[in-house]
């Protein structure tokens, strides 16, 4: 993306648009999110033409209305707009697919931040390492490699020979078990 807007925040761009009425600003803002909106539409609509239509339809739909909306955080808002648009489109075409709702991310957030260097709380650190010891081997290894050794999934696959699917699920389950263990330890 070669846009000159990368230094301004989403909300600043939006404000500029509202103040000046110059839709060029909204165009810049929307363009930032096209990769995400397009990708999400691909997921639900399952082909590139429909996804492209969705991206343009959403833009044309929002352009006249958005100046009147009070949007606190553009990213989360456009996420739900895009998703809703996809759901409506699916409903119209009567495709009945089972959809999963991604579970609360807050849980993972905690665990991830515990692994980052900014975490200086000693009690938390100790508890975390203690809990890691209690994990089943495969989960502990996967968590260690991903979070402590900064290896990507592809790296881990290469090193361990496990399948991508299994590694992802070990990390997922490991995070969950760590969460449970930490809750017990820290909440007494």
């Amino acid at each position: 993306m070669t846009l000159r807007d990368t230094t301004e925040s989403d909300e600043e761009l939006l404000l500029r648009f509202k103040k000046t009425g110059n839709s060029d600003y909204f165009g810049q803002l929307y363009n930032r999110y096209i990769p995400l909106i397009y990708g999400l539409s691909l997921k639900y609509l399952q082909n590139t033409e429909l996804a492209q239509d969705a991206v343009m339809d959403i833009f044309e739909d929002l352009l006249p209305k958005i100046a009147n909306y009070e949007i606190r955080e553009f990213r989360t808002w456009i996420y739900s707009v895009a998703k809703n648009h996809a759901f409506h489109a699916l409903n119209d075409s009567k495709l009945t697919k089972t959809m999963e709702i991604i579970p609360e991310i807050v849980e993972s957030d905690d665990i991830i931040s515990l692994f980052e260097e900014e975490e200086t709380n000693e009690a938390h650190r100790k508890a975390l390492y203690g809990c890691m010891e209690q994990l089943p081997d495969v989960q502990r290894d996967a968590i260690r490699m991903f979070f402590l050794e900064d290896m990507s999934y592809a790296d881990i696959v290469e090193t361990t020979g496990f399948q991508l699917k299994s590694i992802k699920s070990h990390i997922q389950n490991g995070k969950r078990n760590l969460r449970i263990c930490l809750d017990k330890k820290l909440k007494r």
Partner: protein, 394 residues
């Protein structure tokens, strides 16, 4: 690293790991990734094209006071039409027609309200982790459900007062019904009014309301559209939260979301607290499809679903006795005398945990909900099953 670089690259190394970490935290990014993984195409080219298109369209559309142009046009047309009518003598006919329209009067839906008084009693499952809120209905079929307003404040009396206050505003008959029929904690009234007129209230001060919209299990619903008569539409954010400003007491707020019945709720006199709105769907299947928490978000559901012979890990008999032990007789009006069976279907992950539990054959709300809860909290099944069907008799 941006999303396209990740896809095109080797996915190795620290920057890949950072991106993967971001994927865990950002559902938007994660879903977009799923799209790119699923569907093939020259995505970078397509995206570049889309961006150019958007820039073009954005440059063209400058807001040059379109209102002014339109109002001139419409008033010109109106004047011409008016003159035409007058000269052709059609003016008199038109005038007569207007009188007839005026007679239709007060909105009739109010009379339905006595039938729509709702009660809710939360049922806690054995593990206390999932609550399925049951609604009983009078005078309508037992399948549909209606929203509940739960104030976050612990004073449950406020809810009762609010429901009574609302009923006083709308009709006299229903207030007695509301007072009698609120033995349980949460009660609210749902006037089925299609429009959003401003109701007459004592106090016309605009207030601010905030709240969260969740489904029956307490999961926040993202992107629920909230409409009021006098403000632009807003949507709930990623946590299901919303804030409405300039709301007048007695005003109607409408909540709509895909797969859920659109509902209007009136702002009562007690409404300057934080409200949790739970909206439930009218179609059980969709609820199960959309709202059950997925255990492993990386699993992509296959479109082919073969019905397999799956069995519970502890054995069918033990599983059945688990169900029998934990079954609870329904107490809600729509369900308490009902007998029959609820059939559900679900998939299992690699640990045998059920997910995507949906109801194939309904009985009534409370039993349907209970079945979902029992399966969800129950013992594991054979792992990695596409579709398992199970029936519970009540």
């Amino acid at each position: 690293m941006n999303i396209l670089d990740y896809i095109k690259g080797s996915k190795k190394g620290k920057s890949a790991q950072k991106f993967e970490q971001q994927l865990m935290r950002d559902p938007f990014l994660a879903e977009a990734m799923e799209g790119y993984e699923k569907v093939k195409g020259n995505h970078s080219l397509i995206i570049a094209r889309l961006q150019k298109q958007v820039s073009k369209k954005a440059k063209r559309k400058r807001f040059r006071h379109p209102m002014f142009i339109w109002s001139t046009i419409t008033s010109a047309v109106a004047i011409v039409a008016f003159i035409a009518f007058f000269f052709l003598g059609g003016f008199h006919l038109h005038f007569r027609g207007q009188k007839q329209l005026g007679v239709s009067g007060k909105p009739a839906p109010y009379s339905h309200d006595s039938a729509t008084t709702m009660e809710a009693s939360p049922i806690t499952s054995a593990n206390d982790t999932i609550r399925c809120i049951d609604m009983s209905k009078n005078g309508k079929e037992a399948v549909g459900r209606k929203p509940i307003i739960q104030p976050l404040a612990k004073d449950k009396r406020a809810t009762r007062k609010s429901s009574i206050a609302q009923s006083k505003n709308y009709e006299k008959g229903a207030s007695t019904t509301a007072e009698k029929k609120t033995p349980s904690q949460n009660a609210a009234k749902y006037p089925n009014i299609p429009n959003l007129p401003l109701m007459k209230t004592d106090n016309a001060e605009p207030t601010e309301i905030s709240g969260t919209v969740t489904d029956a299990k307490g999961n926040p619903l993202v992107g629920v559209k909230i409409t009021t008569g006098n403000s632009p539409d807003i949507h709930t954010d990623i946590r299901g939260r919303f804030t409405l400003k300039n709301v007048l007491k007695g005003q109607l707020i409408s909540f709509s979301y895909i797969g859920f019945k659109s509902e209007e709720i009136a702002v009562s006199e007690e409404t300057d607290q934080l409200f949790n709105v739970v909206i439930l769907n009218e179609n059980n299947d969709l609820l199960s499809q959309q709202v059950i928490i997925s255990k492993d978000k990386w699993k992509s559901p296959n479109s082919k679903k073969a019905v397999q012979r799956a069995s519970p890990a502890i054995g069918l008999k033990s599983y059945q006795s688990y169900i029998e032990k934990n079954k609870v007789k329904a107490t809600s009006d729509g369900c308490k005398d009902k007998k029959g069976k609820v059939k559900v279907a679900f998939s299992t992950d690699e640990n045998g945990r059920p997910y995507n539990i949906r109801v194939l054959q309904k009985l009534c709300t409370e039993y349907d909900c209970q079945t979902i809860t029992l399966i969800n909290n129950g013992p594991a099944w054979t792992a990695d099953c596409e579709e398992v069907e199970y029936e519970v008799k009540y």
